[in-house]
Amino acid sequence: MKTRITAATLAALAAGPAAAQGIDETVNQIFANSTGWFVSLIFSNFPGTTFPWIVGWLVVAATVFTLYFGFIQVRAFGHALALVRGDYSDPNDAGEVSHFQALTTALSGTVGLGNIAGVAVAIGIGGPGATFWMILAGLLGMASKFTECTLGVKYRNEYADGTVSGGPMYYMVKGFAERGLPGGKILAVLFAIFCILGSFGGGNMFQANQAHAQISNVVGAYPGWITGVVMAIIVFLVIVGGLKSIARVTEKVVPFMAAIYVGTALIIIVMNYDMIGTAFSQIFVGAFTNDGVVGGMIGALIQGFRRAAFSNEAGVGSAAIAHSAVRTKEPATEGFVSLLEPFIDTVVICTMTALVIIITSQLISDPATGLFVLNEAGTQIQTVTGNSGVALTSDAFSSAFGWFRYILVVAVVLFAFSTMISWSYYGLKAWTFLFGEGQTKELVFKVIFCLFVVIGASAGLDPVIDFSDAAIFAMAVVNIIALYLLMPIVKAEMNSYLARLKSGQIRKYD
């Protein structure tokens, strides 16, 4: 009896995956075909070069904001920490959202797979040198975040019932009107469309995809749509069913997972302290010379900038949506607080991942020439285990602590989940901006959002990651135009605030 059941079960299991893999492949094919044009548009190169214009767009913007606001990320760093500590919070406002909560809520939307999988992708293609460009992009991106979040708070809509709606759509419409500029509405609509696409892409499919990759890396291969359906149901319960308990548990566990992740990375780095010098020299040398990676030095730069932008979302406009819901009398304070996000996300957490991958020698280089060895297709550096993406990060961490892969599965799934919840909110705000608020309209968005979870987990990595990037970068195209046009307003806010801070008009509470 017992053997018969086992045999039958085995037969069913053998038949199941074959049919299911078919579904996965079909989804993958349809997906790649239907999004290809959008991806190539966003990632087309400057004529005659291999440099995608969108990467230049983001870096130039971050540099312009850094110079225009006089290195605000350096000047206001200490004050930002004081704000988060609550030094400047009026005790009578207790019970309102604190700066700390605003920061962590926005971070939970960005700290996620970009920090674990995205970094591995960048290093797998661009080599250790990509890390240097990633850190630089993170530091410059702090100024972009400052600009967009200050505007987000300044031009939000406040409703009679005490709720607020804000974000780039609102500063585009209201800020442009205030300055007498045309085209605010058009930009706002474009932004909202891209934001909805971004919430399906990077904020959703990429997360589901990498969560599945990590689970199947540990428990063995199985069809992606199974992960997709399970995650979709949980996301559905939270965002449609209002099952706040799940969200609340995630929100509490995620910071601990982040701490465990960074802590373990630090331990691995300290254990291999003799490698730290080599790792940094690889990072610096790789950043400025051709060490055999795909596309040479420019390849490293592109990968670094691209993954940094995807991870910390500076200039994308998503954080402006999250921060604008915070009650504060001073828009500049949210700007200051938000500039910590690219720092924590990219300069700290992403660098940890990169160092662990480099220090544990996951990338194969030719001992004779010292150059990295590419795979047969020439698209990636060969790795010890042949893995890429989140699996590469997992290999790196597990090479020091075998059990860490299990922790990483939990971390990846939780990060993926909290990022999805955050992005479902951003997407919903864009959706209601376009179609108006209303229960049915909101439900339609939420159901579509859940469907994309399934697609994301089923589709292969390349089409998903490309579409994720394309959608999120398209948001940045529109958002940064608005930031350029509105940056004098931010400067006025910033100068007025800093002057009052200096004169003692804005004071610490004790």
């Binding site: 207790a94 959202v97 604190s98 915070v326």
Partner: protein
């Protein structure tokens, strides 16, 4: 001279007992009473984006509910006993906030009720009564 007594009040049976005991003491000594209702709140908890958006509205609702359901009837109870009464409504860590109120108001004493939990949870997390007994700036009366 009339002193001010702070009564930590959360609507529980224990806090009603504390208030009633405070009323008898105030009657005997000619004191007045400040009913302090503290809503547990930490600025370091984690919220989802949707919760952030609703927070201001929720706060208004919570304050209003506390005012109507808890403070107003208790003020009547104290004033009916012929004692001058004021209220304060705050957010924060309960024991810390009660201490702050006592200090700010120049109170002579704090009265609180005790839940009487001897269980596992209060051993680990501590109770408001135990914390207050340790850190309060003025004498604390813990009413069982």
């Amino acid at each position: 001279m009339s002193r001010k007594i702070v009564v930590g009040f959360d609507g529980s049976d224990a806090s009603v007992r504390a208030l009633d005991f405070a009323i008898t003491r105030a009657q005997a000594q000619g004191d007045n009473i400040l009913i302090a209702h503290v809503l547990e709140w930490s600025p370091y908890s984690f919220l989802t984006a949707a919760e952030v958006e609703e927070r201001h509205r929720r706060r208004k609702e919570e304050l209003q509910r506390a005012e109507v359901a808890i403070l107003t009837p208790m003020v009547k109870r104290v004033e009916d006993a012929g004692i001058p009464c004021a209220t304060t409504l705050r957010y924060g860590h309960i024991a810390e906030t009660l201490c702050r109120i006592a200090k700010d108001e120049g109170a002579a004493m704090i009265f609180i009720g005790r839940m009487g939990d001897s269980g596992f949870a209060s051993r680990i997390f501590g109770s408001v009564a135990a914390t207050l007994a340790q850190v309060a700036p003025v004498p604390v009366v813990i009413v069982p």
